[in-house]
Structure formats: structure tokens, C-alpha cells
Amino acid sequence: MAWFEPKTEKTSIPPTKALWAVCPKCNSHFEKSVWKQNSGICPKCNYHGRLSARERIAQIADKGTFAEVFREVTYSDHLSFKDATGAYKDKVEATIAKCGENESIVMGTCRIDGHEVMLGVMDFSFMGGSLGTGTGERIARACEQAIAEKRPLVLFSASGGARMHEGILSLMQMSKTSAAIACVKEAGLPYISVLTDPTTGGVSASYAMLGDINITEPRSLIGFAGRRVIENTIRQKLPADFQSAEYLEKHGFIDKIVERSELKGFIAKMLGFWGF
């Protein structure tokens, strides 16, 4: 009689995360290999998932042309910042050890379908892609090098906003990067901004929204204030597609939503239109 038989040991189930990729937008489960083969795009809802900076560079830059610059610029703990969970320095050092990057943007020169550019790609896994003094400095240096070498500038954003652990000087990176971008434009060089999932806060409110063209991928989250902050302020539910790529395009802030597979060709085509 089964009901008083001793309980058998549960067979050990492998941790789901090791095997499965879960789409954060539609919650569908796929084998990780399927997710990866599909370039990090959900096969069901076409959500364009997050890529590391290196994965993105591999997809965008012509093979073997990416030459990284400004690795000497990294984070700065000028406030010796500590919060309830510990010191900023320890957190950021752990991040560096884990993800291999030493700032939230990777910068370099490369070719895109033959077009010479200055390319910057943010990595969301580095402190939530936050804008720190090192990030801002890399962007400003990139703008200056782009002007000196007459290169178009292409920046891929992925960020939660300014890095509060670096205090007021992280906020000042918004004006610093915007001023540097303004100089790129004054020099008659194109700046293509690609806002990838997610681009919010101080990054969307500075260089990410200042592209000569602003483009994005399907279903990316783009906005200034967080959804919860807004819901708490206005005390009403927001539409389901609020702050999505499609919503931004509808309201006139995005030039085009481009599929990941077509992104490289699209950037090259636009540069070609403008004679670069």
C-alpha cells in the first residue's frame, strides 16, 4: 500500500538555469543552445535579448578589425563609497574579475562592412551598464579621436543610468558626453546611436538619445524614469507596451527598429548614404 511505503529519494533535477534560457519578456523556455544559435533572440516573441559587449562587437565589426582603445581608463572610487552591502571598490573588482571588462563600455576602432568607424559597446553585466566616470571618459576620448581621425561614431547603449556609487561626478558624465557628442556633430561626422535593451535613466537622457539617428532592436526597453516610479507617482497602470522600442517609435523618438541580423548592414548602409 503505497501511502505508508517509505518515501523514495527525489531524483535530483538539474538546476533549470543550467539548461534553459527563459525569455524575460514572454517567459517562454528554450534550451540554451537554441537561444544562443538564434543570436540571443527569443524564437517565440522576437525579443532581442542582451549581449555582452564582446558578443556584440563580434556581430558588428568586420572580422579581425576591432582594435580596442582606452583600457587604461577604468572605474574611480573617489568617494570611497560604501553601502549596506559593502564597499563599491569590492563590488566593482568582483565584477571585473567575473565579466572580464574593466568599465561598462568597450571602445575601439573597427570597420563595419568596410566603413571605418569608432565603435563603443556598453555591457549591461558590468554594474548594470551604469555610466561612471570611466565610461564618460572613454566616450569623451572616443569622440575626440573620432574627430581627429574623421571617423563616424557608433555607440551601442545598454544601461540602467548613472552609477550612483560615483556620486555627482557620475551625473556630470551626462553633460560631458553630451558636450563631446555635440563636437562630433559640429565636425560634420555622423553619430549613430543604437539603444539596446535596456537603455534608461541618465544614459537615455544623454548620449543615447542624441544620435543623428537613434535606432533600436525589437522589444527593447527604453525610457527615462522606471515604470514602478511612474506608477507610484501617477497611481495608475501603464500600458503593457510602455517604454518599449515599438512605443518609442510610435511616439517619434526612434528612427527605426532593426532586427539584429540586419543591424550591421543597416549601419553600413546609412553611413554609405551620408558618404562615409
Partner: protein, 267 residues
């Protein structure tokens, strides 16, 4: 005095706000309305005025001193319409080479549905771009709360002054405490860690000068506080007035560019 004591003073509703500063600092003032697109944002006010004989454009966040005033001014939280109005007026001042004086006092840009739909991020970004290259002198005074991007959008200039008890931060102490302490009530700790007082900002070279307040704070004596502000603004305007546009823009860029550059030069 702790950093959080300053936060409380900076937010004191009895502190002088834009209306009071205009009354005491300007001998003449004509407000101009609207962004020419959708509305006239009452949270960000601008117009032409005269400060000690110098004609200038005055822009500022419009916080109120009473509930009614604050309802009208949306507690000084501007929408994209406000930033676009500020840019429109700034470009007008540039056209006639009239200097710009801004008064910064906001908890932050308004977080709302319409604000997002009309491009809050784009409006702030554009404002940073416009003010960083505006071909006329820009003097900024942080008078109360310098709340993040919503403050910075009108705080990019040639001279940034800050009142002794004002605060200026990348995030509100409450917001920071909520995220990094997982407890909004730890705001005093967050305020200390974030380094948001005028002295901190001067040390970090995020501002250029601290403006003294009357004994006990600006809220005790509006006229005296405004007199200190007026003196500092006039001094800054006179310093800047002799400079060519080229030099002005070059120096402004160098100043913005140097912020937070702790790093070695490129190899």
C-alpha cells in the same frame, strides 16, 4: 551639521524659490511662455530681466512655498515641455548674445506617462547638448535641491554657483537608500555617502563657487539671501562678458570635459 540636515534645509518650503529670487535680484522681468509644441510647463519658468543693469535671460525651476503654488508648479518637476521651453528661450538669448542665468531647484524631472511619451530623456539630453555649446555666457545657481538629470538639464554653464545649504546629487538620498540599502529610511546614510553638499561638490570640482547664506539659512531672510546671490551672479557675468564666444565655448568645454577625469592619458 550632517549632510541630511542640509537636505532638510534645502527642501524647506520657507526657502526662497525662483519667484523670490526674481523679485529681489531682477529690477525688471518679463516672463515668456510655452515650448511652441504642446504646452507651457509651469515647473520651469523663463523670461528676460535685468540684473544690476545687465540684461539677461532668467530660467529656473519653479517650486512653490504653499501647497497651492506647488500644485500649479508641479513641485518644480519639469516635463519635456519645460526643457524645450528653456532651450527655445536659451537659443533666443544666444541670437542677441544676451547672457543666461539659471536657478536650479528641483527634486528631479517629472516621472509620468505623458513626460515619457513626449520624450523626457530626449529633452534632457538635447538640453545638455544645447547648453554645452550655447554661444552666450551661462551662469548657473543651484539654490535648493539639485535633483539629478532634471537639475543638470539647466545646470550646464560657464560658472556654476551653489548656495551654502543647497544639495546636488545624482539620485535622491531616499532613492539611493531604497536601492543600495534596500531601506528608504536609511536616507541619512545615503546622503552622507553620496557627498551632496556644496562643500563636497566644490572639492570634487563639480561646482565653481559656494554662495554664502544669511545666518541660519536662506529661509530666515529671503532678501539677504538674494543679495548674496545677486552679488555672486553679477561678478560672474562681468567676468564672462569680456570673453569672445570662441574662448567662452573652449573654456566651457574644457571645464565640462575635465569632470571626473582621474585617468592617465592615452598610451
Amino acid at each position: 551639521m550632517t549632510a541630511f540636515d542640509r537636505v532638510k534645509i534645502a527642501r524647506d518650503p520657507k526657502r526662497p524659490h525662483l519667484k523670490e529670487f526674481i523679485k529681489h535680484v531682477c529690477s525688471d522681468f518679463v516672463e515668456l511662455h510655452g515650448d511652441r509644441i504642446v504646452s507651457d510647463d509651469r515647473a520651469l519658468v523663463g523670461g528676460f530681466g535685468v540684473i544690476d543693469g545687465i540684461k539677461c535671460l532668467v530660467l529656473g525651476h519653479n517650486k512653490g512655498s504653499s501647497v497651492e503654488e506647488n500644485m500649479e508648479a508641479n513641485f518644480g518637476m519639469a516635463t519635456p515641455d519645460g526643457y524645450r521651453k528653456a532651450m527655445r528661450l536659451a537659443k533666443l538669448a544666444e541670437k542677441f548674445h544676451v547672457p543666461v542665468v539659471t536657478f536650479v531647484d528641483t527634486p528631479g524631472a517629472y516621472p509620468g506617462r505623458e513626460a515619457e511619451e513626449r520624450g523626457q530623456a530626449e529633452a534632457i539630453a538635447k538640453s545638455l547638448e544645447v547648453f554645452s555649446r550655447l554661444a552666450t555666457p551661462v551662469v548657473v545657481v543651484v539654490t535648493g535641491e539639485g535633483g539629478s538629470g532634471g537639475a543638470l538639464a539647466i545646470a550646464v554653464g560657464d560658472k556654476v554657483l551653489m548656495l551654502e545649504n543647497a544639495i546636488y546629487s545624482v539620485i535622491s538620498p531616499e532613492g539611493c537608500a531604497g536601492i543600495l540599502w534596500r531601506d528608504g529610511s536609511k536616507a541619512p546614510e545615503a546622503a552622507k555617502a553620496l557627498k551632496i553638499t556644496a562643500k563636497d561638490l566644490l572639492r570634487l570640482k563639480a561646482i565653481d563657487e559656494i554662495v554664502k547664506e544669511p545666518e541660519g539659512g536662506a529661509q530666515k531672510d529671503h532678501a539677504a539671501a538674494a543679495a548674496f546671490v545677486k552679488k555672486a551672479v553679477v561678478k560672474a557675468l562681468k567676468e564672462l562678458s569680456g570673453k569672445s564666444v570662441e574662448k567662452l565655448l573652449e573654456e566651457r568645454y574644457a571645464k565640462i570635459r575635465s569632470m571626473g577625469n582621474f585617468f592617465p592619458a592615452a598610451k
